[in-house]
C-alpha cells in the first residue's frame, strides 16, 4: 500500500454515545480507507453498511486471527495459543461443520427455555442490591454477574462452582486486571473447564456440554479439547459484551426518562427497544475484522491478498443509507438490519440469548428499582474508550 492519508486507530470518542467524528468522515468521504493500527501495521477500515455486509459474506476474506495480516487493536503480537481454533477464527469448510455441531444449542426455542432461569438470576441480583449499601457499582453488582451466571446455566456449571467461575471470569474481562493475573485466570478456567468436561463425560448431564458429549459419543469419539475451546469461547463472547450492553442501556434509558417511561407503560415495546439499543451502541466496535486471502475489489478499491480489513460496524450502524435519523435513539425503530452481531456465516451464535437477557433486564430493573439513578455526574463515568468492546468500567448508581 502507498503512504497516503493514514488515520491512526483507535480514536477516542468525544461523545460517549456516538462513534468518533473521524469515523463518520471516513464513512462519508473514504468508506474504505487505509488506517494505522496501534502495532504500526496498516489495514483497511470499512465504514459503510453495504461494504461490511459484503466483506462478512465473502469467503475470500478469512477469519483467521492468527494470520499476521489480521487487524488487531492490541499492541502485542497475537498470542501463540494452546487453544484449539475457536469457532470465530475458523474458515470454510471447517467453520460450517463446527458451527453446525453446536447450532442446536442456540435455537430460538432452546434459548427461550432459559427465560425463567434468567429472570430468577436478575431478580436475585436486584434483591441483593436492594438489601445492600448504596451507592453501588452496577457493573460489579449486576451487569457482570448476571451474564456470567447465565453462561454457568448454559454450560451446566454446578452451583457450588459458581463463585470460582465468576471470580476468574470477571478477572478475565476486567480491564484493570494485570496481565499475569489474566494469564492465571485463563489457566485456571481452562483447567476447570477441562475437569468439567471430563466430569460430564463420566456422568452426563442435560446441558450444553452434556448434550455435546452425548452427541459426539454417538458419532465416534468425544473431542475434549474442542469442547473446552467451545466453552471458553462462550465465556469470553457472552460475558463482557452482555455486561456492557446492560450498563450502557441502563445509563441511556436513565438519561432519557421520557423514553424509559414510554417503555414502562407498554412492555411489549421492549423487543424493538433492545434491537435499537443493540444498533445504537454496537459495542463490539473494534472486534470485527478479516484478512484477504486473495486480491479483492471492494467498492472500487483493491484490497490485496494478506491485507487486513477492520469493519467498523458501529459507524455502519449509523449509515444514513440504511437508517433514517441514524444518530437518534428511536426505541420504536424496530429495525433488525444492523450489524451489532456481525453478519454472514459467523454471525453471533448467542444473539438470541443476548436479546433475551437484555429484554428481561430492561423489563425488570426499572420496575423493581423505580428511583434508580446515576450516583455520580455522567460525564465523570469511566467509559471504555480504545478497547475492543465498548462499555463502562464502573457505574455507581443509587435510588
Amino acid at each position: 500500500m502507498s503512504a497516503e492519508l493514514l488515520s491512526p486507530l483507535p480514536i477516542k470518542r468525544t461523545c460517549p454515545y456516538a462513534p468518533p467524528a473521524e469515523h463518520r468522515r471516513l464513512r462519508e468521504e473514504q468508506p474504505i480507507a487505509k488506517v494505522q493500527l496501534p502495532n504500526g501495521r496498516i489495514a483497511w477500515a470499512v465504514t459503510r453498511h453495504e461494504h461490511i455486509r459484503a466483506v462478512l459474506s465473502d469467503p475470500r476474506f478469512s477469519s483467521n486471527r492468527r494470520d499476521p495480516g489480521f487487524p488487531s487493536l492490541s499492541h502485542e503480537p497475537p498470542p501463540s495459543s494452546d487453544l484449539k481454533p475457536l469457532l470465530l477464527e475458523m474458515d470454510p469448510p471447517e467453520h460450517g461443520q463446527a458451527r453446525r455441531g453446536v447450532l442446536g444449542e442456540f435455537t430460538v426455542q432452546r434459548t427461550q427455555a432459559l427465560g425463567p432461569r434468567i429472570q430468577q438470576i436478575v431478580d436475585q441480583h436486584i434483591d441483593a442490591m436492594l438489601a445492600g449499601p448504596k451507592p453501588v457499582d452496577l457493573v460489579q453488582a449486576f451487569s457482570l454477574p448476571v451474564p456470567s451466571l447465565v453462561i454457568c446455566e448454559l454450560l451446566g456449571v454446578p452451583y457450588a462452582d459458581h463463585e470460582f467461575f465468576q471470580t476468574r471470569s470477571s478477572a478475565l474481562v476486567n480491564q484493570k486486571t494485570p496481565a499475569e493475573e489474566i494469564a492465571r485466570a485463563v489457566g485456571e478456567l481452562m483447567m476447570y473447564l477441562g475437569r468439567l468436561v471430563a466430569a460430564k463425560a463420566e456422568s452426563p448431564t442435560d446441558d450444553l456440554l452434556g448434550r455435546q458429549i452425548a452427541k459426539q459419543r454417538e458419532s465416534g469419539a468425544v473431542h475434549y479439547e474442542d469442547l473446552v475451546s467451545m466453552a471458553f469461547l462462550l465465556l469470553i463472547a457472552g460475558h463482557e459484551t452482555t455486561a456492557n450492553m446492560i450498563s450502557l442501556s441502563t445509563l441511556v434509558l436513565l438519561q432519557q426518562p421520557d423514553k424509559l417511561a414510554a417503555l414502562q407503560r407498554d412492555p411489549s415495546k421492549t423487543i424493538a427497544a433492545v434491537e435499537e439499543l443493540l444498533r445504537y451502541f454496537t459495542i463490539a466496535e473494534h472486534a470485527l475484522g478479516r484478512v484477504a486471502r486473495e486480491d479483492v475489489e471492494l467498492g472500487g478499491v483493491r484490497i490485496g491478498a494478506g491485507e487486513g480489513v477492520l469493519l467498523l460496524a458501529n459507524t455502519a450502524n449509523r449509515d444514513p443509507a440504511v437508517f433514517g435519523d441514524a444518530d437518534e435513539l428511536d426505541l420504536e425503530r424496530g429495525s433488525r438490519n444492523h450489524l451489532a452481531f456481525g453478519f454472514g456465516p459467523h454471525q453471533c451464535l448467542g444473539q438470541n440469548l443476548a436479546r433475551l437477557e437484555l429484554q428481561i433486564v430492561i423489563d425488570t430493573l426499572f420496575r423493581r428499582i423505580p428511583g434508580l439513578r446515576p450516583a455520580v455526574p455522567v460525564d465523570e463515568l469511566p467509559f471504555k474508550d480504545e478497547t475492543t468492546v465498548y462499555g463502562i468500567r464502573e457505574f455507581p448508581v443509587t435510588w
Partner: protein, 65 residues
Amino acid sequence: MRVRIDESKCCGAGQCVMIAPRVFDQRDDGIVILLDAAPPTELHAAVREAACVCPGAAIALDERT
C-alpha cells in the same frame, strides 16, 4: 410471493424465526424449516425483513407470484 430456502446456506442465527414465526421455524439442529412457501399478504413485510437480515442469504423470495 413464493419463498425458497437454501438449507446449505443456513447458519442458524434464528432471526427468521423471531421475525416471521408463522413462516419459518428451526429443526432441533438449528437449521431453518419453511412452514409456508406462499405466505399470506399480511406476512410479506416480515418475510422480506427476514430475507434481508438473514446472515447466510439463505432465504430467496419470488415476488412475481
